[in-house]
Symmetry: C2
Subunit: 205 residues, 2 copies
């Protein structure tokens, strides 16, 4: 019964906290997963591939998809739209996969509102703001202005850690990966409320 | 940060669903644990040892401990008191242990009210009421009257499964044990709200 239904793992945390590295590291250890690829209107960074890192679309196209209710959640961040398309998520859940989301606290809100029964959420961050700043400066993909915005957003987002099921302080990638694998494996054991209700109804017959 | 604080794993479910067998089976696989021993006023069954299966006390002693607020939770079931003493739980949490509770839905309520931030809960049951009846009859430790009461209580308790984080349908002991180990390992990763608040306050300094 536990293995047939899909479930959701939400990962949030500042850009630069190492979410992508962690996801790459655990991917092979946690079984059948679908990594939700966000759709965005922001410009492609060097090395990013359309359909792998993001679905890159125009503002016009994004707004059309909003109107057609094709998003599980979306948000406007630093002037760019980011969203999660509903279709592929539903399909992956039907196939019993663990759907992994890399989304912000607003996105987490939206997922909790619609799919709380099968959702486990993890906030991933650096030990300190100082450390985050160091990492963002060293990866040198962002302008000073963007880094300032990211640090500002991070400072606001950490205030909401207690809304998450788990916190991982990523000060050691291997240790953080071990914790995330443990959490991801348990996340898969969540059963949809509808399925529980059916079980309860049948139980005493 | 994740490993230093204790956490709680609540197991509920009908007597006869295999909770004790499961706990014995997983004990060696999930690291440092403290199994909370309930205090009760019911009579000792054959083979039960005071201080191992329960702390057996008189009604008078139990009521005195209620007055002295020495219980995390307690309840009156089938005319007997069952309760969880607070002292050993606090000590085990301070030592960073995973505290395992085998308690009913009322006890789960009480734990959620006081320690929700570090609590993970699992409801364990047989596939059907019929199967539970079969198991209770075959273990022949209870009178027909007690079995009838247990079945009645089970029927009411399964209605509240959706209050639990996870459901395990114990139709195969090995498979159920694997799921419980996975859940127990993740349960240990919960961080107390107080510790999260301290982290958040220090993060941007």
């Amino acid at each position: 019964m536990n293995r047939t239904s899909g479930a959701i793992l939400v990962l949030s945390g500042p850009s630069g906290a190492g979410k992508s590295s962690l996801i790459n590291k655990i991917f092979n250890d946690i079984g059948s997963t679908y990594f939700s690829i966000s759709t965005t209107t922001r410009s492609k960074r060097e090395g990013e591939i359309d359909g792998v890192h993001y679905h890159f679309v125009s503002q016009e196209e994004f707004k059309r998809e909003i109107d057609e209710e094709m998003f599980l959640e979306y948000a406007l961040v630093h002037g760019n739209y980011y969203g999660t398309s509903l279709g592929p998520v539903k399909k992956a859940l039907k196939e019993g996969k663990l759907v992994i989301f890399d989304i912000d606290v607003q996105g987490h809100d939206a997922v909790q509102n619609r799919l709380a029964d099968i959702t486990t959420s993890v906030f991933i961050t650096t030990p300190t703001l100082e450390e985050l700043k160091k990492r963002l400066l060293s990866r040198s993909t962002d302008s000073a202005e963007i880094i300032a915005k990211r640090l500002d957003m991070a400072t606001r987002e950490v205030q909401r850690i207690s809304e998450y099921d788990y916190l991982i302080v990523n000060d050691d990638l291997d240790a953080a990966a071990d914790v995330l694998i443990t959490i991801a494996k348990a996340a898969r054991m969540k059963i949809p409320t509808q399925q529980i209700n059916e079980f309860v109804q049948m139980w005493a017959l």
